[in-house]
Amino acid sequence: MKRVTLLFLIGLAALLVWASSDLPDRADPLAPANRHLSPELTELTEQEVEIPNMVSAVLADFRGYDTLGETFVIFTAGLAVLLVLQRSRRTPDDEEEAGDA
C-alpha cells in the first residue's frame, strides 16, 4: 500500500512538472495574465494615485472592498478565539465549584 502511494505521488509530481513546462516565462509581458488587467491598473496608479508602490495602490484603493473584508475576517477570528478560549478557561473552575457543593 505504501509503495502504491509513493508511486502515485511520484507520478503526480512528474505530471505537475510536465505541465509547468507549458507555462509562460516568469515576468513575461505577453503572458495572458499580464495582458488583460495589469496595464490598466499600472496606468491608473500612475495617473490617479501617484504612489510608487503599486501593490499598496491595488490593495488599498482599487481593491479596497477586499481589504475591508480581510480585516473583518481577521477581527472575527480574534473575536472567536476570545469567546471560545475564555469560556473553556472558566469551565474547570465551575466543575470544581459544583464538586465542592
Partner: protein, 81 residues
Amino acid sequence: MIWWLELGFFGLLILAAVVALTVRDMIAAVATLTAYSFLAAGLLALMGAVDVALTEAALGAGITGVLLVGAFSRLDRRTPD
C-alpha cells in the same frame, strides 16, 4: 543568473517539508515549518514579490510558530494519561 540560488532554495524547501512531515516531536515539526516559511519568503523575494515575502517572513516564520507551540501546550494539558 541566480538560478542556482533558487534551485538550492527549492531543494531545501522540499527537504524542510519532508522533515516536518516525518519528524515525531511536535516542537521539532513546528521549528521545521518555521524554516520552511522562511525559505518560502526567500523564494518570493527572489521572484520580486517583496510585499508577499515580508508578510510570509513576519507571519509564517514569526507568529505562526509561537501560536502553534502555544496551542500544543494547551493540548498537552488535557491528555487523559
